[in-house]
C-alpha cells in the first residue's frame, strides 16, 4: 500500500537516527486498518444498528406496513403469555445447558491433546493432522454422518454397545442422551482446532523455564502446573472465550442431529431465532431475541475475562 507521507514527515524521518521505518505518516495505521474497518462497518456495525431499528418494529420486509412497536418485542419476551417468550426461554435453556456441558470438555481435552502432540515421537505430524481433520468437515457432513451413527435401531454405536449387552439408547430422542450426543459430536468435531491453538501457545513457552524447573527438582506434573499452565494463560483466556461464544451459537448440530428434540429440549436459542425470523418472518421479534442473547453473551464474556485476567501481585 502506497502511503502518501508529506515531505515534512519524510524529512523528520530521515533526520531520525533510528530510521527503521520509511515513509511513516500519522494516517498510516488507519490506512492499513481501512479495508478491515470498511468491511466491519458495512457488514457488522451497519446491520447491528439496523437490527436495533428492526427490533423496535413489527418487521416483515415483504409487508408494506412495518408498524413501530417501541419496546414491545422486548417486553413480550418477558411476558409468559406472549407467543415468543416460551420458545425463546426454552431455547436459552437449551443453549445454556449445551454451553455449560461442552465448554469444559472443549477446553480440557484439546489441552491434553496439545501436550501429547507437543512431545517428540515418530508420526507426530500425522497425528496432529488426524486430530485436526474433523474440523475441516462442514456441519452438514457431521450432521448426516452422526445421524447414521447414532440411530437408535440401526446405528453402529448402539450395535457396538449391544455387543456388551447394553440395551438400545435413543441417542437423538432421549434425554440426557441427546445432550450427551451433541456434546460428544461437537468435541470430536472441533477439539482439533483448539488443540492447534494450544500447540502454538506451547511452542511459545521458553525451554529455559522447563530447564530451570527441572534443576529445581520439579517432576513432570509440577512442571505442567507451574510452567505450562501459567505460560498458556493468555491462550487459554482466548480459547475459553471463543469456545463459550461458539457453543452459545450452536445451531447446525442440533438442527440436523436431534432436530431440536426430544420435544424442544435441544432447540437452541439460535434455532428459535432463525425460525422466528426466517420461517415465521417475524424479524422484529427475532431481532429483539438476538439482542437479548447478545447482551447475555457479552456479560458472560466479560465475566470470563474478569475471572481469568492476570492477577497483578
Amino acid at each position: 500500500m502506497a502511503v502518501q507521507a508529506s515531505a515534512g514527515t519524510l524529512r523528520k524521518q530521515r533526520a531520525r537516527a533510528s530510521a527503521g521505518v520509511r515513509g511513516y505518516g500519522r494516517a498510516t495505521p488507519y490506512l492499513f486498518l481501512a479495508p478491515y474497518l470498511l468491511l466491519f462497518l458495512v457488514f457488522v456495525i451497519g446491520p447491528a444498528l439496523f437490527g436495533i431499528w428492526m427490533s423496535l418494529h413489527d418487521w416483515d420486509f415483504q409487508l408494506p406496513g412495518k408498524p413501530f412497536v417501541g419496546l414491545q418485542n422486548y417486553k413480550d419476551l418477558f411476558d409468559p403469555l406472549s407467543a415468543t417468550a416460551e420458545p425463546f426461554w426454552h431455547g436459552m435453556r437449551a443453549t445454556g445447558i449445551f454451553t455449560l456441558a461442552s465448554v469444559p470438555f472443549l477446553v480440557a481435552i484439546p489441552l491434553a491433546l496439545a501436550v501429547l502432540l507437543n512431545r517428540k515421537f515418530p508420526g507426530r505430524t500425522f497425528f496432529r493432522a488426524v486430530y485436526f481433520a474433523p474440523y475441516v468437515l462442514g456441519v452438514a457432513v457431521i450432521g448426516l454422518m452422526f445421524r447414521y451413527i447414532l440411530d437408535t435401531t440401526f446405528g453402529i454405536l448402539n450395535a457396538f454397545l449391544g455387543l456388551f449387552g447394553i440395551p438400545e439408547i435413543g441417542w437423538t430422542t432421549e434425554q440426557p442422551w441427546a445432550f450427551v450426543a451433541l456434546v460428544a459430536v461437537t468435541v470430536w468435531w472441533t477439539a482439533g482446532f483448539n488443540a492447534i491453538i494450544y500447540l502454538a501457545g506451547l511452542q511459545d513457552i521458553p525451554a529455559e523455564q522447563y530447564e530451570a524447573a527441572e534443576l529445581d527438582g520439579a517432576n513432570t506434573w509440577q512442571q505442567f502446573r507451574n510452567v505450562t499452565l501459567p505460560g498458556l494463560r493468555p491462550v487459554t483466556v482466548f480459547i475459553v472465550t471463543i469456545t463459550l461464544l461458539a457453543s452459545a451459537n450452536m445451531f447446525g448440530q442440533a438442527l440436523l442431529i436431534t432436530q431440536g428434540g426430544p420435544g424442544d429440549t435441544t432447540r437452541t436459542a439460535l434455532m428459535v431465532i432463525t425460525d422466528t425470523g426466517f420461517s415465521q418472518f417475524r424479524m422484529g421479534q427475532a431481532a429483539a431475541m438476538s439482542y437479548l442473547l447478545a447482551i447475555f453473551l457479552s456479560i458472560v464474556a466479560l465475566i470470563t475475562f474478569a475471572l481469568m485476567r492476570e492477577r497483578k501481585s
Partner: protein, 442 residues
C-alpha cells in the same frame, strides 16, 4: 422423492409446520406490479414475442427432479423463443430465499410451491394471482378434486395451478406379512383388521408399525388419524387450534399406543421406520407417495402400497400438493409474464410424465387416462383423492402447525400424555394464530 434427502433438511426444521413443509397461503394486493393485465390470455395462445429467458425455481432435489427437468427440456425444444432455466434448491432454503429474491427484484418468473405455503406467500406479496391462467387452461373445479382446487385459492383469488397431489399411503412388507400368516394381497383396511394384523406380527416377534416422533412420518400419520376420527385441526375461521379435542386425542393415543403395546420400538429415529420396512424389521409404514420410487430401487424387497386403512371411521389421509405460482416481478415485463404462463400451461397438461416421478396428477382427466392407470402404485393411492385434507388457507398457518409437531414428539417419546401434550400445544398455537391475525390484518 428421495425421502432421506428431502427430509434431511425439511424434517429437521420443527418450525416448518405441516409435515415439515412450510405452510402458507397468500393474498394478492390489488395493484400488483408485473401481473399480466386482464387482457392477457393466460398463455393459452402461446408466445410470439422476442426471445426471453425464464428462471424457474423449485425444490425437487429428490428423485422427482429429473422428471421435471425432462419436461423443461421438452418445452425448451418446442419453444424456440423461450428458454426456461430451472434452479433446484432444498425446500427449506427455498421458502426463505424466494421472498428475499422477489423483494430485491431477482426472483424467478415461475416457481413451484406447496399448497400450504400459498396463503402466506400471497399475504406477503411474494406471488401474484393467476386467475387468468386458470381461465386460459379452462381449468374448472370439475377437473380437480374440490380440496385441491379450493386449496389454491386465497381471499377469492387463485394463486396456484395444481400440478399434483402427494398423499400419504400405506406401504407394507409382503414377506413379513406372509411370515405372520397374513395375506399380502389383502392388506388390513379397518381398525380391527389392522389390530389383528399387528398382533399376528407381534406373535412372530415382529414390531409391525414403527411410530416416529417426527413430522415425517409421525405427525402426518396423526393428522390423518385425527381426520379419520372426525376431527379438524382448526376451527371454522382458523382462529383456534382444535386438535386437542376428542378426535385429536384419540388419534394421538392410537399412534402412541403402537409404542406402548410393543408394535414399535421406543425412540424411533428419523427415517428409521421406513428403513426398517426395507430391511425386513418393520411390516407397515404410512409414508408419502414419493416413497414408491424409494422402495422400487430396493432390490429384493417384496412390497405393496394401498390407501391408508380406515382406523377412525371416516376415510381420510394427509396430503401435500405442488402448485405452480408466479412470483411477482419487481419491474413489470409483459414478455416474461406471458411466456411464464405459456410454460405453466404446457407442463400442467403434461402432468402424466410428472406422475412417473411418484405423484398423483392433480387433473382428473389425466388420472382417468389409461396411461396413468398403468402406474399401479400411483393409481392405488389416487383413489384417496376425495378423502384428502389440506391445512386451511391462512397466512402463517404453518407456524401454528409447528406446535402440533412438538406435541406428537413428546407423546410418542412417552414424555407426556397425548391429551396434555395436545392441549399445551393448542394453547401455544392459539397465541401464534392471534399474532398472525394481527400481523396479516385478517
Amino acid at each position: 422423492m428421495n425421502t432421506i434427502n428431502r427430509r434431511l433438511v425439511l424434517g429437521g426444521i420443527g418450525a416448518l409446520g405441516a409435515a415439515g413443509v412450510l405452510a402458507g397461503c397468500g393474498e394478492g394486493s390489488a395493484g400488483n406490479p408485473g401481473a399480466g393485465p386482464a387482457t392477457g390470455d393466460g398463455g393459452a395462445k402461446g408466445y410470439e414475442g422476442p426471445n426471453v429467458e425464464l428462471d424457474f425455481w423449485n425444490g425437487f432435489t429428490g428423485g422427482d427432479g429429473p422428471f421435471m427437468r425432462k419436461l423443461v427440456d421438452q418445452f425448451n425444444s418446442e419453444n424456440a423463443n423461450i428458454k426456461v432455466k430451472m434452479t433446484v434448491m432444498q425446500w427449506a432454503d427455498y421458502y426463505t430465499k424466494l421472498p428475499t429474491a422477489v423483494s430485491s427484484g431477482r426472483g424467478p418468473a415461475v416457481a413451484i410451491m406447496h399448497v400450504d405455503s400459498l396463503a402466506t406467500n400471497a399475504a406477503r406479496n411474494v406471488i401474484e394471482p393467476l386467475d387468468d391462467v386458470a381461465k386460459a387452461l379452462d381449468l374448472k373445479q370439475e377437473d380437480f378434486s374440490e380440496v385441491v382446487w379450493k386449496a389454491g385459492e386465497y381471499e377469492g383469488k387463485r394463486y396456484g395451478i395444481p400440478l399434483d397431489v402427494h398423499p400419504l399411503g400405506f406401504f407394507y412388507n409382503k414377506t413379513l406379512m406372509t411370515q405372520a400368516g397374513l395375506d399380502p394381497a389383502k392388506p388390513p383396511a379397518t381398525a380391527d383388521e389392522y389390530a389383528a394384523a399387528l398382533d399376528a406380527l407381534k406373535a412372530k416377534g415382529i414390531q409391525g408399525h414403527w411410530a416416529t416422533p417426527f413430522p415425517f412420518t409421525g405427525v402426518l400419520s396423526v393428522q390423518a388419524l385425527l381426520w379419520q376420527f372426525g376431527g379438524q385441526l382448526f376451527n371454522e375461521d382458523s382462529s383456534k387450534a382444535t386438535w386437542h379435542e376428542e378426535p385429536g386425542v384419540k388419534a394421538l393415543s392410537w399412534f402412541t399406543d403402537l409404542v406402548k403395546n410393543g408394535h414399535s420400538p421406543k425412540n424411533v429415529a428419523q427415517d428409521a421406520d421406513n428403513i426398517a420396512v426395507m430391511n425386513g424389521k418393520n411390516a407397515f409404514v404410512w409414508n408419502g407417495i414419493w416413497n414408491i420410487n424409494t422402495f422400487k430401487e430396493k432390490k429384493g424387497l417384496e412390497w405393496g402400497v394401498a390407501p391408508l386403512p380406515n382406523i377412525g371411521g371416516t376415510k381420510a389421509a394427509w396430503a401435500g400438493s405442488h402448485q405452480f405460482v408466479l412470483p411477482k416481478l419487481k419491474t413489470p415485463d409483459q414478455n416474461k409474464s406471458t411466456a411464464a404462463r405459456v410454460f405453466v400451461n404446457y407442463v400442467s397438461q403434461k402432468s402424466l410424465e410428472w406422475a412417473k416421478g411418484g405423484q398423483v396428477p392433480a387433473r382428473k382427466q389425466v388420472r382417468d387416462s389409461a396411461e396413468f392407470k398403468a402406474l399401479p402404485e400411483q393409481a392405488a393411492l389416487a383413489t384417496q383423492i376425495d378423502d384428502l385434507h389440506f391445512p386451511p388457507p391462512v397466512p402463517g398457518i404453518g407456524d401454528a402447525l409447528a406446535e402440533l409437531n412438538k406435541a406428537v414428539n413428546e407423546s410418542v417419546l412417552l414424555k407426556a400424555e397425548p391429551g396434555k401434550a395436545l392441549a399445551d400445544a393448542a394453547a401455544r398455537a392459539d397465541k401464534i394464530l392471534e399474532a398472525n391475525r394481527k400481523k396479516y390484518g385478517a
